[in-house]
Assembly symmetry: C2
Homo-oligomer: 487 residues x 2
């Protein structure tokens, strides 16, 4: 309402008007500084406007990192966390406006701000093939052609960072384990490598926002990064089993105490999430504290030196750069656990009763087309006709194997089965996607290709996106419909 | 082709013609008797026609019980197993026709047949409220109004028998356990009661044919009993855990041998099925050898004296009247394991490659409406408007809890959430259905009511039946659409 270049007289007139509405008082910088980290109420400045964001903090997608800016200006942080520079964010902030910075504290009409340290300074250089959705934090998907193999190479594995990449090294790495008994156990990298059996599994990580773009395009607008089919990847992970480490720390993994219901993970950059303890201690659950990805040291973007891998669950629970594990009677209090990664009904809007929905853990059935090639000139891939080869993935959570992939080239009127590729997966259950392939004669192919999958519990995908629409655009699992241009 | 009342001359003319086609030779009864039980090829007579059914036996929905009739006439058996008396069965049999009974062996133009023992003579008298789909074997569903409570009373619990109810008593009951090591262990009823802890769970049994009627009506014709919403029920089951009994018999349940992949069950009437060993030995799997149902001795129709209860799996694996358990490297060879209870693609027809599909074990998400009541006159159940109260159930397999039930009264354009009832379920996971309720103002209700459910892995139901259509009509899990007449 008040621009920083307006004259004092004009501003005061406006302010009086605003004060009448109880929103626009003039506030001294010293008062604002008193509402910094640790204060009962948290205030921030943007431009010359002041906001009391206390009630917003639980909903902040970046969690309590927002407190870094409390007591001062968010502007230098938003120059770093550029994801904030959009109208949707401005609108949210505006709801919490309480006033403007007192004219007496402005220098050249602006709030004087200190430089802040760039937390992204350690972010690695990334493969140029990655399709970047946001730079800070880095969110980038694997381009479809790179999704064609059973194992996704580290360099093009999708990156889904909520904050920056924390600096880490093996020598100083410490993992703190708190069983809720008031005592903390500490494990070094050497402990993790030498005290426990190394377990190797292949597992698919699937971001809850994978295919969000399809939900937006086929249903309604969704909040969040508009991922296509590449917020998913499959890798071989190696490291000790979480259950072995918890048992070593003193947890009765065979029969955990009744008040231990969740295992919370905290990453070095402040991200947090949790899983049910039943998954953590299940001998067939295969939850790892992984230090290797595809036989190499885990790359910085994927959790170096140690990340959790919770196979069969949404990737948001596989906390990267993990340095603290807490066994507790409640879920992680992070908004990544309590808000972001939940689905609501198509009618529930942008501000639902957050506690009513369950945090996403095991994933439902998914499938997608990743490539369509003209194989008319490849005699081994067709039967003498002008044909296309369609390839893709199918995956289900909870270790449930994909048992069938159906393809339609005539808009769902008829279906046929894709050929499922043999794969060398490892693990106690089916943690990896299935690659599939289908060859169709061009003359039979209509304007779109459809794929849907079935898992071993005969769960299937919904036909369309609208019935599972949710404002956050989580779990866009409807049939993948890919337009096909026969020319 | 040849009726038993045709004249010899006419018949011979027809037979000559048929013989030319290699289908219609004249066969003596003594030859037919040589193709009885134990013979390399099995022949049966129906009327005066002769059939070589050898190749049909693996596909016979009643299993090898068909061999009782081999070497003679099926007619007296079909008078008992009246389920056969329909065109679809006649048509299948006709495919195996090899000739007719020699005129010299007919008496008054008919094949003389001996009386056969009626295996259904021990079948109990049933509650008249059950909705009978077939009498012999008994298949009867719970009428919708009786599905309204969390616990389904024994008297109206749906009955799904594949054969007759075998005679059983606790005194002579023996359970044979074969771990595949060539040795058999035998447990009496006293052993089961006294050597093991009694475990109590509530669990929903869901027939794979539940709601088949809806698939038929909304997609295409299906083979099998046309169940409505009542081939499902929820009960409290009690008995020893299967894993405890297997451990007592000598199986290393903590780490079963690699070649032990399945646990097969055989019922006293000849029914057979199996489950993966991982489910059988899972400490949180809760597979029971139940001798109590809702606090009472298990009724004869439900497995007296002992049945298997495999919670979270299709009811076809909860073998009734179980008297043999085999730990093996392969699934049960019964056609109930290898054929009947599988789903194929909508395109795969009546004679698919049976081995390509997985036997149904864990169930997908299901929901249905069981009652619609006008509550306009009940002030506690409405908000002063002319309203209806809609109630029903929702369920998912594998112990996955139902987390949301969506209702639409305007043909899916908008949705709202039903209220989930609190329930006193017991067991290591969520084995019981959720009851739900929704109140709608009559003026908002269109010509049909829709329900769909979501489980804790965010699996959902398919929008419509056609994409999951299969000839057998298994797992009709699409949204339930119930016509509503506002008058």
């Amino acid at each position: 309402m008040v621009s920083s270049t307006s004259s004092v007289v004009y501003a005061e007139a406006i302010l009086e008007d605003a004060e009448e509405k109880g929103k626009g008082r003039s506030i001294r910088l010293s008062d604002i500084r008193d509402h910094g980290e640790g204060a009962e109420r948290s205030w921030v400045i943007r431009g010359t406007s002041v906001y009391d964001i206390t009630d917003w903090i639980p909903g902040h997608p970046g969690g309590e990192v927002i407190l870094r800016a409390a007591g001062g200006s968010v502007d230098p942080y938003w120059k770093i966390f550029t994801i904030h520079e959009k109208q949707e964010v401005y609108d949210i902030l505006e709801e919490y406006r309480i006033g403007t910075v007192d004219q007496r504290d402005l220098v050249d009409g602006q709030v004087p701000v200190d430089a802040v340290e760039d937390p992204f300074q350690n972010d690695p250089v990334r493969d140029i093939r990655l399709q970047v959705h946001s730079d800070r934090p880095c969110n980038a998907e694997t381009p479809a052609p790179e999704l064609s193999a059973f194992i996704t190479p580290n360099a093009v594995f999708y990156v889904r960072n909520h904050l920056w990449v924390p600096e880490g090294d093996e020598e100083s790495y410490c993992l703190v384990i708190d069983l809720g008994d008031g005592e903390e156990k500490v494990y070094t990298m050497k402990d993790l490598r030498e005290k426990f059996d190394e377990c190797k599994i292949t597992a698919t990580l699937h971001c809850s926002g994978n295919r969000r773009k399809h939900m937006t395009e086929n249903s309604r607008a969704t909040n969040g990064l508009q991922w296509d089919v590449g917020a998913i990847g499959n890798a071989e992970w190696a490291g000790p089993r979480l259950r072995d480490v918890l048992a070593d720390a003193g947890l009765a993994t065979g029969n955990p105490p009744n008040d231990a219901k969740h295992v919370q993970f905290v990453g070095a950059e402040a991200y947090g999430a949790s899983i049910p303890i039943a998954k953590a201690v299940d001998p067939r659950g295969d939850v790892l504290l992984a230090y290797k990805m595809n036989g190499e040291q885990i790359p910085p973007d994927h959790g170096f030196p140690v990340r959790v891998v919770v196979p069969g669950h949404v990737a948001a629970r596989s906390v990267k750069w993990v340095n603290k594990i807490v066994v507790a009677d409640e879920e992680s209090t992070s908004q990544w656990q309590r808000r972001d990664y939940k689905c609501f009904g198509p009618n529930e809007g942008a501000n639902p009763d957050w506690d009513r929905a369950r945090a996403i853990q095991e994933l439902p059935v998914q499938s997608a087309i990743t490539s369509v090639r003209d194989v008319s000139a490849h005699p081994t891939e067709n039967d003498g006709n002008d044909s296309i080869a369609v390839e893709g993935y199918a995956f289900s959570g909870g270790g449930r194997e994909i048992v069938r992939v159906d393809i339609s080239v005539d808009d769902g009127r008829t279906w046929d089965q894709a050929e499922l590729a043999e794969s060398s997966e490892s693990g106690s259950q089916h943690w990896s996607w299935k690659r599939w392939k289908y060859t169709a004669q061009k003359k039979n192919v209509g304007p779109q290709l459809l794929v849907k999958a079935v898992d071993e519990a005969y769960n299937t995908q919904p036909d369309s996106h609208e019935p599972t629409y949710n404002v956050r655009g989580n779990l866009a699992m409807a049939w993948h419909r890919l337009p096909y241009n026969s020319k």
